[in-house]
Structures are given as structure tokens and as C-alpha cells.
């Protein structure tokens, strides 16, 4: 016998000894080993070497030789086997062996998976079986770590129950923070992670009465008989076993594929999952869905809208959906700016998306530095509340008029950077002539804009003059240079476009002149690699995730490919589920012209959707005109709906089968705070420290709930895809594989990371800080920001010179739009185009005279942290308790309330032709007259009559918003464009 064969047999014997040892040391392991009586053989393909392992009631015996068995795991030869055994962490070798069919298994997939699960447990027994992780803090309490959308936390657990969830105070031994010196003062951020309400609410969400604790079946759904789809949303549920639930789901998957062909399955999920790179929907769920073949829901650029459909054409930045880079802008702002204009920008509410309250301490420095602030928002938002400064309150949806008025003052008074405009922009003259009225006879004067915006011409002039003479930062959206607010309205594209034009007039990139609001752009280390969730985790998806950027080299895994090429625009899901043809345009992060490509459904040769695999229940609160979503469940074209959800809320109760998922506090995961990857590369630079977290399993999953990973894995097993799905790794193993693909192993050992739970990346010294974003363009050098895009092919001239536009310049007159052909909805220069649902639509305005804005919520994150009987119910600005029910809040000015005879705190009906919602009224001077303010994203949909055809008292204001695209050639939501009326609720009517 050759040396390798001897060694192979020795290794196999070693596995036997370790199996025995683990079973004797850990009763939990012995219990798992007793689940199946079977024989597993590990052998060379020719059977010349090998060993069998026999399991009988948990007893493990083994003998040498490659006899027949229930499952036979084989290697091409002993050399191929040793290649894997001797380098257990070399997943590339393992993947290569699998891909080249030198490593495989014969026998039932589920049994093979079971054996792999034992081997996985055996490899990390101290953690997975001995539960030796976290810090013992005395009194029987262990302190674990986890990570949420709003920041990292310590989780204190006693007797298997969470005692408390707290921010992390960094230890003395953790990396020191950065210091910025500005105007002779030194500024250093606090030494702790500042988390937000969404995160501090977590204990109440974990222990919520709305948790789904068992698999459930709708009482009047029979997969083999009457399905009663029209009863979805009304029927109750009956508890069933996991096996029954999973069998139904797997059988339905197989059935619709065979009956209808490709495209019959569709899956969708909310924009954000609970945090964690392996458990995210773009990881485990994507791997499953690619493996079974699923009609892809094409997301609209939901929070970016106007930037993607508008601003992108002026300067490229396609990878950021039209928004600029924010590197080092915090330091530049502090050192060089004299003023910050917050325009539809409320970082104190939306936390820079994932940034918790990290930017707050920095914004307070503005006062110390004497930097002036101005706020433009129909609502005196929370940033304005905290910072003070001048508040200008335009009518919603008129930002494009206000910006033209500002440009008018700059042009007529010479208050702009003429050299920059001359040398670094294209097409200014055409825009200038339009503003001066040479094109349409209407000069866009401050007085002209006042008629549209209601912002006094004198104030507009004062603002324009100050802005045109002071070095000014423009903050848009929560993060300061992207997403939310005015960009999500009928005029959103023109507004976002005009923001770029204003910045171009002021010479963006000049010291003190840039975009930001002290949220994004901290001096953190962008060179230390850790992936964001959008980089695809363990999805294996190189086409529709960011995996191709870094992770496919760094974290070898089997590729997955979705063979169903059909897509449905997300905002058209309801019509698609009803089998109707729909279309929309692509969201493209590759190039600005990518968005010119239409999508059609059904695609040629594809089935319409018959099976809907829905994750969570957020769309009724977050999409638009959402009675559509409700009604689309209640019809027979949609034959089967499964919802995998943590909480019974929103759409979950429209499913036929409900699969209970657990939170990320009940399973393993790994992630970095605020690192999403994808459209916001280096999104962690809104933080004060970079923090990677081992998301420790703090408690066992509640009830029978399971990790999303495990649910997908269980379904995969029923399609013989189990081993392909897991590659023999558990979710914990995938965390380790991901860890090994990052730069973390250069600074901390896996074992130590698992135990301590987090790592703080040192901030670079001053010499290594990133150059200020867009400065390179101002200075005329090659692009020197630490981001790869634009792609080389997207430059018109030399690589990394200029912007990714046809002229290589910032374009006032957009060449891409000219190439597309003139479109009055989106002309090549940005113009004032009145909102398609506002004061100019006089008939509708006469009926529904209030403009409703529904910004991203402050105390919840999409539908996370809302309802669920959460602590947030007690926040006075979040929901209001009236007669034992927590109602969503809308805000009206004292004038609008009194003219309707409405009082603070009473229940009102907000309505239009699309629906009606009962809310508690807050009368506040913070909202300008003529406007209703209520946040988007109620988690609760609670119709008081027939679902889809009655008043909702849960608070889903998106029942009222239009499903119209901002512009036809887009796929977009204009959620801040909505005409409504408000009246006292007499508590009788249930009809719309």
C-alpha cells in the first residue's frame, strides 16, 4: 500500500476517534448522532482505500474498507483526499475538487448532509457544543456581541434569556479614534458605538408577542384540494410541523416548475434584512433561489430615485446610483467650509442609513466651529431642531423651482465659479439661457420661484447671496450626499439634477465646497478589507450581487446561477402576480445608460408567477398604492404563497404557509457595522470607528423558529440540493470562511474574534487619510479616490481622467439624455416641471388639497422596530396610544387642523381615491401649512373591513401614494408626492 493510501486510512481512523471522543464528551453531539441509523463510507473512487462509519442509536462503530453503505463520500484518489484533509481551511482546493468531480457523494442528499453536519460540529466542539464563547461577567451572566442595522451591541444573557442589550464602550486596548484639527481646536469622537432607537428596541422585538414561533398553514388552504386564495389575509392559521411545512413548500416548488416551466416561482424580500453577511437575503436566500430558479424581482433604486434617474446623467457615478463620493469630506468641511445647507436632509432622523447616532456628536461640532447652518424642508426636522439655524419651508415637490431661483441670483449677480464652469463643465450656456428666460420667456427669478415654493423671494436671495459668497457644503438626504427626501417625489429627478448643477456652479471639490452634512466622510481606514452585505455572503451569485468585486477571489465557494431570466419590476409585483403584462426600466450601477433598458414581463417563453416565496411582510408599508399588493394576494392566478418571517405582520398573514425565522440574536453571523457594499461603497465612513462583529448566537431560537440559513438549507435538502447549498458548512462555518476572506486574520485570530466578539480597525494616521472626494476633479488630476468605479470602459478618454460622461465633464446639458432622444419629462437640461400630483393638478388638488410627505421613519428602520408590541410604541413621536391601540401619527399645522375642526391627539382619517388610513393627529407648528407629514413604513397593516378594500388603522400611509413612476422612462417611486384630505374619524366607516 502506498504512503498516501496509508495516510488516507490513518486520517479516516482519526475521524472515527474524534467522532467517538466528541460523542462521549458532548451529550448534545451524541443526541445528534442518534438521529439516524445508517452507514457512511468515505473512500477513494476505486474503493481501494476507505472506511465505513456505522451509527446505531447513537453508537458509532467503524471499520476499514470501502463496503457498500447508505452514503458513500468519495475522492478521485487518496491524493485528492489528502489535498483536502491536510489543508482543511483551503476551500479553493475543496471547491476545485468538487467542480472537477474529484470529490462527491452517492446516496441520499439529506443523509449526506446529516453526516456533514456532524463533521461540522466535531470541528468546533468547544463553541458549538460546549458553548464556550462570550465573556463571563459574573452572577451567571454572559456577555455576547451582536450587530444590528443601527449598530453593534453587547448582549447580556442569563439562564438563556436576554437581560439587556447595550451600546459597546470600547476598551482601552481597542484602537484609538481619529482626531481632526480645525481652526485651532482638536476634535475626537466618543469612545463608544452610538446606537439608535431601532437597535435599543431590539429586546422587545426579540421577545415580541408577534413572533411566529411555529410553522403554520392557513386553515382553509389545502395543497391537494381547495386552496381558497381569495381568503388570504382573512383566514386563521393552524400550527403544523416543520416537516409538513417544508414538504408542502418543496412539493409546490416542484409542482409549479413541472406544470408551468421556468418563471413560475418568484421571490422577494424587504430592502433590508436583520444584519449579518451570511444570513442576509442576498446570501442564503439568494443561493437557494438561484438553485431552484426564480423570477427575479428587479428593485427600483428605492431611496435614491432622483439621483439615479436624474443626477447620474450630469456626472456619472453610476456605481453610486448618481451620488458623489464622500471620502474625507468631514475634515474638509470642518477645516474649510463656512456654511452647510441641509436640503431635504435630516441625518438626526435617518442616521446616515446604518450609522446609528454616530454623526450626531460630529454635527454638534459645527456650533463650536461657528459654521452656519440652513435647513430647507417643509418640516422643521430633527436636525434643524437640534442645530438651530435658518429654516426655509418650501411646499413639497418644488425643490426644482427653488434651485433655479438660486441659480438665477448667482448668474445675475456673478456669484459662481466662472473658471470651473468654463473649464470643467459642458452645456452651461444652454441652462443659463433657460434660467434667464431666453428659452421660454420666463426668467426663473426669486419672485417666480416664490409662486411655486412659497419661500419668500427675499429669503431666497439672502440664501443665494450667502451661499454664493461663502464656502458651502450642501447636505442632501440623511447621509448628506444621497438618498431619501426630495429625491423621492414627482420632481425628484429634476431636483437631484439641479443639486449637481448648483454644486458645479460653485466648483465642487474646492476646499470647503462639496456635498455632505458631517455624516459621511470620516477619516477611517478604507484600505482594510471587509465585505458589505451586498457583496453576496455565501450566495455564490457573481451576477446579481457584489461578489465579483472582491469575494469571489477571497472566499471560494461554488457558483450559483439563476437559470430563470425573467424579471419583474418591484413596483409592478401586484400586476405581475395577477398575470398581467408589466414593464419597467433597469436600475443600473454599471453605467448611466444602463437605465435605458426596459424589462418586460412575462418574458418570452416564461410562465407568469404561480408561486410566491416572500420574505417578511414589509411592502404594504413601504411600496406605493399598496392596496394593490393586498389585492394581488387574494386571487387565484397566484396558486401558492409561502412567507418566511420573524413576525406576524404586514404581508405575512397573506401566506398559505408561514415559516418562522429567528432574529440574528438567535443564530451565528458575522458583519461590519454600516458596511453595505453595493451602491454605497465604503459606507462605513459615516461612523466614528470601523467595527467588525462576530454576531454571536446569544440565545436559542425562540419556539420552533430557525435561522434563515437553516430554513433555506432544509428546503434545499428536500430538492437534493442540500450539499450543494451548504458545501458541508454550517452557518457558523460560513462565518469562519467569510472571516478568512477578509483582512481580519492579519490582526486577530479566529478563536479570539469568536470569543471577544468584535474588532476595531485603527484609524489611519493623517498622512494616510483618503483624499477629499471630487477634489481630484477640481484640481484636474487623475481620480485618486479609493474606489474602482467607473469601469475603465465608461471613461471617454484616458482612464481615470474626468467624469464618466461623454464629454468627460460635469454636464449641464446631458449628452446621455440627448442620445436617448428628447423627453419632455426629462429634458437634457434640468428644468422646472411641475409635480404631476400637486397644486398644478387643479382638479385633484381641489378634492385633496393637502400634500402628504412620507419620509423614512426616525425610530424604526423600514418596518423594523415598528409595531410588534415594541418599546418604540411608547415613544410619543412614533405612535400614539388612543383607546388601547397604538396609532401611527400624522402631523398637521395648527391652521390646517383648526380649519378642519381637528384637535391634537384625536383620530383622523387620511384619505384619497386610493385608500384611507386612520392615524392619530399631532398638531405642530413644525410642519408648514398645506402639508401632511407622516413617516413611511408602518409594519402593521390592519384593515378594519375587507383587506384591500377598507380603511387601515395600522398606519400604512403608502396605501395612499401613487403607483405612477416619477417619469415614464424609469422604475421609481414618488412617495413624497401625494395629495390627500384629512378629516375627523367618526369610527363608523370601514369602506375606502
Amino acid at each position: 500500500m502506498g504512503k498516501d493510501k496509508v495516510l488516507f486510512n490513518t486520517v479516516l481512523y482519526g475521524i472515527y476517534r474524534i467522532l467517538k471522543h466528541t460523542a462521549s464528551k458532548y451529550p448534545e453531539f451524541k443526541k445528534r448522532a442518534a438521529e439516524h441509523d445508517c452507514t457512511i463510507v468515505l473512500r477513494t473512487k476505486d474503493g481501494s482505500a476507505g472506511r465505513s462509519f456505522t451509527f446505531r442509536k447513537g453508537n458509532i462503530t467503524s471499520k476499514s474498507g470501502a463496503s457498500a453503505a447508505d452514503v458513500e463520500i468519495f475522492w478521485e484518489d487518496e491524493k485528492a483526499a489528502l489535498e483536502i484533509f491536510t489543508k482543511p481551511r483551503d476551500f479553493l482546493a475543496r471547491i476545485n475538487a468538487m467542480k472537477n468531480f474529484k470529490f462527491g457523494a452517492i446516496g441520499p442528499d439529506w443523509l449526506n448532509c446529516w453526516f456533514c453536519e456532524l463533521l461540522s460540529l466535531m470541528q468546533s466542539p468547544d463553541v458549538l457544543l460546549g458553548h464556550e464563547y462570550g465573556i463571563d461577567v459574573g452572577d451567571g451572566v454572559r456577555r455576547f456581541t451582536n450587530l444590528h442595522n443601527g449598530g453593534p451591541v453587547f448582549v447580556y444573557v442569563k439562564d438563556g434569556k436576554i437581560l439587556r442589550v447595550t451600546p459597546i464602550d470600547y476598551e482601552e486596548s481597542d484602537a484609538k479614534p481619529w482626531t481632526i484639527e480645525a481652526h485651532g481646536k482638536k476634535f475626537t469622537p466618543p469612545r463608544k458605538g452610538m446606537i439608535n432607537a431601532d437597535t435599543l428596541n431590539m429586546k422587545s422585538q426579540i421577545y415580541s408577542r408577534d413572533r411566529i414561533l411555529h410553522p403554520m398553514k392557513r386553515v382553509d388552504f389545502d395543497p391537494n384540494g381547495a386552496r381558497n386564495p381569495e381568503k388570504r389575509g382573512e383566514s386563521g392559521y393552524v400550527r403544523i410541523s416543520w416537516d409538513e411545512a417544508l414538504d408542502i413548500v418543496a412539493n409546490e416548488i416542484k409542482r409549479v416548475k413541472k406544470e408551468y416551466g421556468p418563471g413560475a416561482i418568484m421571490h422577494s424580500m424587504g430592502s433590508h434584512h436583520l444584519w449579518g453577511s451570511t444570513g442576509y437575503w442576498i446570501s442564503a436566500l439568494r443561493r437557494l433561489m438561484n438553485s431552484i430558479g426564480s423570477t427575479m424581482v428587479m428593485n427600483n433604486p428605492d431611496s435614491w430615485e432622483g439621483w439615479h434617474w436624474g443626477a447620474i446623467h450630469h456626472w456619472g457615478y453610476a456605481a453610486r446610483l448618481g451620488c458623489p463620493e464622500s471620502y474625507s469630506t468631514v475634515e474638509d468641511l470642518m477645516k474649510n467650509a463656512e456654511m452647510v445647507v441641509f436640503w431635504s436632509s435630516d441625518p438626526e432622523s435617518t442616521s446616515g442609513i446604518y450609522g446609528g447616532m454616530e454623526g450626531t456628536a460630529r454635527r454638534l461640532w459645527l456650533k463650536e466651529l461657528g459654521i452656519k447652518v440652513v435647513h430647507i424642508d417643509p418640516y422643521l426636522n430633527h436636525t434643524a431642531g437640534l442645530l438651530g439655524g435658518k429654516w426655509l419651508a418650501p411646499r413639497p415637490d418644488t425643490g426644482n423651482a427653488m434651485s433655479l431661483g438660486i441659480a438665477y441670483v448667482w448668474i445675475t449677480e456673478g456669484l459662481y465659479d466662472k473658471k470651473f464652469v468654463e473649464e470643467k463643465t459642458y452645456g452651461f450656456d444652454k441652462w443659463r439661457d433657460y434660467i434667464l428666460g431666453k428659452e421660454d420667456g420666463i426668467p426663473k427669478t426669486p419672485e417666480w420661484q416664490e409662486r411655486e415654493t412659497d419661500v419668500p423671494a427675499k429669503d431666497l436671495r439672502a440664501l443665494a447671496r450667502e451661499w454664493g459668497t461663502k464656502r458651502t457644503y450642501l447636505g442632501v438626504g440623511g447621509p448628506g450626499d444621497m438618498v431619501g427626501g426630495a429625491c423621492r417625489s414627482a420632481t425628484g429627478a429634476e431636483w437631484a439634477r439641479s443639486m449637481v448643477c448648483l454644486m458645479a456652479m460653485q466648483g465642487i471639490g474646492r476646499p470647503g465646497v462639496n456635498m455632505g452634512n458631517m455624516q459621511m466622510g470620516t477619516p477611517l481606514d478604507t484600505k482594510f478589507f471587509f465585505p458589505g452585505y451586498a457583496e453576496g455572503g455565501m450566495s455564490g451569485d457573481l451576477q446579481m450581487t457584489g461578489m465579483a468585486v472582491n469575494m469571489y477571489q477571497r472566499m471560494p465557494q461554488l457558483p450559483t446561477v439563476n437559470s430563470v431570466l425573467q424579471g419583474v419590476p418591484r413596483l409592478r409585483i401586484p400586476e405581475a402576480l395577477e398575470g398581467k403584462p408589466v414593464s419597467g426600466y433597469m436600475t443600473s450601477f454599471i453605467t448611466q445608460t444602463g437605465q435605458f433598458f426596459p424589462i418586460f414581463y412575462p418574458s418570452p417563453g416564461h410562465s407568469t408567477v404561480k408561486l410566491y416565496y416572500k420574505y417578511g411582510g414589509s411592502f404594504i408599508g413601504t411600496m406605493n398604492n399598496t392596496n394593490r399588493f393586498v389585492n394581488s394576494y387574494r386571487q387565484d392566478k397566484l396558486e401558492f404563497v409561502v412567507n418566511e418571517s420573524i413576525w406576524m405582520e404586514g404581508e405575512a398573514k397573506f401566506a398559505d404557509i408561514i415559516l418562522p425565522a429567528c432574529t440574528n440574536f438567535e443564530r451565528w453571523d458575522i458583519g461590519e457595522w454600516a458596511n453595505c457594499g453595493g451602491y454605497v461603497q465604503h459606507s462605513f465612513i459615516g461612523l466614528n470607528h470601523r467595527v467588525m462583529v462576530m454576531q454571536q448566537k446569544c440565545i436559542e431560537p425562540l419556539g420552533e423558529s430557525k435561522s434563515d440559513y437553516d430554513i433555506c438549507y432544509e428546503i434545499a435538502k428536500r430538492l437534493d440540493l442540500g450539499a450543494y447549498f451548504s458545501e458541508g458548512s454550517s452557518q457558523y462555518d460560513w462565518c469562519q470562511r467569510l472571516f478568512e476572506g477578509t483582512d481580519l486574520p492579519t490582526v486577530i485570530k479566529w478563536k479570539d474574534f469568536v470569543k471577544k466578539g468584535y474588532y476595531v480597525v485603527p484609524a489611519p494616521n493623517e498622512a494616510h487619510r483618503d483624499p477629499v472626494g471630487v477634489r481630484w476633479y477640481y484640481e484636474g488630476t487623475k481620480k485618486n479616490s479609493p474606489e474602482a468605479p467607473p469601469f475603465p470602459s465608461d471613461y471617454p478618454g484616458n482612464w481615470m481622467e474626468g467624469m464618466a460622461t461623454q464629454t468627460g465633464k460635469i454636464e449641464f446639458d446631458c449628452t446621455s439624455l440627448k442620445r436617448l432622444g428628447e423627453d419632455p419629462e426629462r429634458p437634457s437640461i434640468t428644468k422646472f416641471i411641475p409635480s404631476w400630483e400637486g397644486p398644478h393638478t387643479t382638479e385633484l388638488f381641489g378634492k385633496f388639497p393637502l400634500q402628504m410627505i412620507t419620509p423614512h421613519p426616525r425610530y424604526s428602520f423600514h418596518t423594523h422596530a415598528d409595531a410588534k408590541d415594541s418599546f418604540t410604541n411608547d415613544i410619543e413621536e412614533h405612535r400614539t396610544l388612543v383607546d388601547g391601540y397604538y396609532y401611527w401619527i400624522i402631523r398637521l399645522s395648527p391652521e390646517d387642523a383648526s380649519s378642519r375642526g381637528l384637535r391634537n391627539g384625536e383620530l383622523v382619517k387620511v384619505f384619497n381615491d386610493r385608500g384611507s388610513v386612520i392615524c392619530a393627529l399631532q398638531v405642530t407648528k413644525r410642519i408648514r401649512s398645506g402639508v401632511v407629514h407622516g413617516y413611511a413604513s408602518s409594519a402593521t397593516y390592519d384593515p378594519i373591513g375587507e383587506p384591500g378594500h377598507s380603511t387601515d388603522r395600522g398606519g400604512c400611509l403608502n396605501l395612499l401614494t401613487s403607483s405612477r413612476d416619477m417619469i415614464k422612462k424609469s422604475h421609481s417611486t414618488a412617495s413624497n408626492t401625494c395629495l390627500v384630505q384629512v378629516e375627523k374619524w367618526d369610527r363608523t366607516g370601514v369602506a375606502l
Binding site: A197, W391, D459, I875, K925
Partner: protein
């Protein structure tokens, strides 16, 4: 003997509710024997935040007042509790969860409304200043730890040090008329309790209305000048920290370029006068 004190900065509170949520996180479903029974899931706000909107329009402002138990030196609740409520030597006022059982009347003893009734467990309860944590290894209460703006701070000082700090930072008690000598004091309380008079000075030039920057605005009362300001580029002025309902004031506005204006203002709540036209 050192005591714990809370310092609450009204200007720094933005109603993020990190304090309320961390308090609920700490106390919901947790029992800390000797300190408190669990807080109910909903309804009790051991730190209660109230909102005040002052003025209107472009110069309005909004402030928040977080109100926990004031841990008074001369606490009426202690006096009227028959030993169920005590003030510890470190300044923390604690309700004994055993002795307070069934004593609903304790709720009414606090003029600040800081004592709550737990209907389910039939016991009075309130903010413990996280004494169970401070008696262990913790240096801060949960609410102070979670506050992103340092609107909530806490100090552990000897009485003379505390008094010196209070003077230095101009700390004020909330509702001094209660006479309870609170252990918690406020900064910038004026933002909540006082009023302002504000306006925007404008003038017409060649038929175009514009903001008047640099105008001198004098506020006087009973013929005596109270304060003087210069308008900013929006023509704005704002006289703050005036007592509410303090009667008639005279405003004199003078712009070298555009002329002057005089007006009388009766101050009740904060008032934004809107346009003040000089000619």
C-alpha cells in the same frame, strides 16, 4: 460623602429616545431585588421627554425636556412614605419594592410625577438611577450611556464640588417652586421655560423686497433697554430668555440704509413677528 447627580442639558436633547429605550431595555422583564420590580412593557416612562415648540414660522424652535426622578435632597416622597422610600447616602432615592407594595398613594407624593403605579404587581416604582448597576461595576446609568449628545451626564461628587460645578455651569433646578432640592439639575432650562421675541427685518429697494442685514434692534421695557442685537443676512433677530407673560416690550429697529421702525410687543408665549418693515 460623594453623591451621584444627573446634569440634563435641554439644548442638547433631540428626542432620540435612546434614554427611554435603554431604560425600558434594562427594566422590562428584569427583577433587581432590593432595587425594583420589573417595569411593565408599556406605559411607564421613568425618563419622560416632553416637547416645547416656541414661536412660529422661519424662526421657531423646538426643545425637549427629559425628566427622570430628580433624586431630591428634600424629597416629599421620602417624607410621606413611612420608610418605603429612602434617600441613600450616595444621593439615590429608592423605593423599597417590598415596603411600597400596595401603597398607591406614593404616586401622588412626587410633584414631578416621577412615581408610577405598577397595576399588575400593585407596587409603586420609579427611576432607580440604575443603582443596581452603579452598586456593581457600572460607572453610568443606562440612559447616560446611550445618550448620543451628552444631553444626559452624571457626576459623582462631594457636595462642595457639586455646588461649585452647578455655579460654574449655571445649572438650574426644574420647578424650583417645589422646594425639593433636586439632585438632578438642568442646563439651558431657559430654552424650555423662557420666551423669545423674534422678527425678520425687511425693506423695499427699487420695488424689490429684501432682507435687511446689519440693522440695529433694541428691545426695551419700561423705557429701559433690555437687550440689543444686529440682524443677520436674513434680517433676523431673536431676543431669547425673556420671562413668559412678561408684558409689553418696545422694539426699535434702525437701518442706516433703509430707515427705521418701532413697534410694541406684548409677550405671552414666544413670538415671531414675521416681517418687520423698515422705511
Amino acid at each position: 460623602m460623594k453623591k451621584f447627580h444627573m446634569i440634563i442639558n435641554v439644548e442638547r436633547c433631540e428626542d432620540c429616545n435612546a434614554c427611554l429605550l435603554s431604560c425600558k431595555d434594562e427594566h422590562y422583564d428584569n427583577t433587581f431585588p432590593g432595587y425594583t420590580v420589573p417595569q411593565p412593557r408599556h406605559g411607564q416612562k421613568w425618563i419622560n421627554i416632553t416637547r416645547k415648540e416656541r414661536g412660529a414660522g422661519s424662526l421657531m424652535d423646538v426643545f425637549y425636556l427629559p425628566k427622570p426622578c430628580q433624586h431630591c435632597d428634600d424629597a416629599p416622597c421620602v417624607k410621606k412614605s413611612d420608610g418605603a422610600i429612602t434617600k441613600r447616602s450616595d444621593g439615590i432615592v429608592l423605593i423599597d419594592p417590598v415596603k411600597a407594595k400596595g401603597k398607591k398613594q406614593l404616586v401622588g407624593t412626587c410633584p414631578y410625577g416621577a412615581i408610577h403605579w405598577n397595576e399588575e404587581l400593585k407596587v409603586a416604582q420609579k427611576c432607580t438611577m440604575c443603582a443596581h448597576l452603579l452598586d456593581g461595576k457600572w460607572k453610568q446609568t443606562r440612559c447616560v450611556q446611550a445618550c448620543p449628545t451628552e444631553a444626559l451626564r452624571m457626576v459623582y461628587l462631594e457636595d462642595d464640588e457639586w455646588n461649585a460645578l452647578a455655579r460654574q455651569e449655571k445649572l438650574q433646578p426644574l420647578n424650583p417652586e417645589f422646594g425639593t432640592r433636586p439632585g438632578a439639575l438642568y442646563r439651558n432650562l431657559d430654552r424650555f421655560t423662557k420666551a423669545f421675541i423674534a422678527g425678520s427685518v425687511t425693506a423695499a429697494k427699487n420695488g424689490i423686497e429684501d432682507c435687511v442685514e446689519g440693522a440695529r434692534v433694541v428691545l426695551s421695557k419700561d423705557s429701559k433697554s433690555v437687550a440689543e442685537l444686529t440682524t443677520d443676512n436674513y434680517g433676523d433677530f431673536k431676543f431669547d430668555s425673556l420671562p413668559e407673560n412678561s408684558g409689553e416690550y418696545r422694539l426699535t429697529v434702525e437701518s442706516k440704509e433703509f430707515g427705521s421702525s418701532k413697534l410694541m410687543v406684548k409677550l405671552e408665549d414666544s413670538v415671531y413677528l414675521g416681517k418687520v418693515i423698515v422705511s
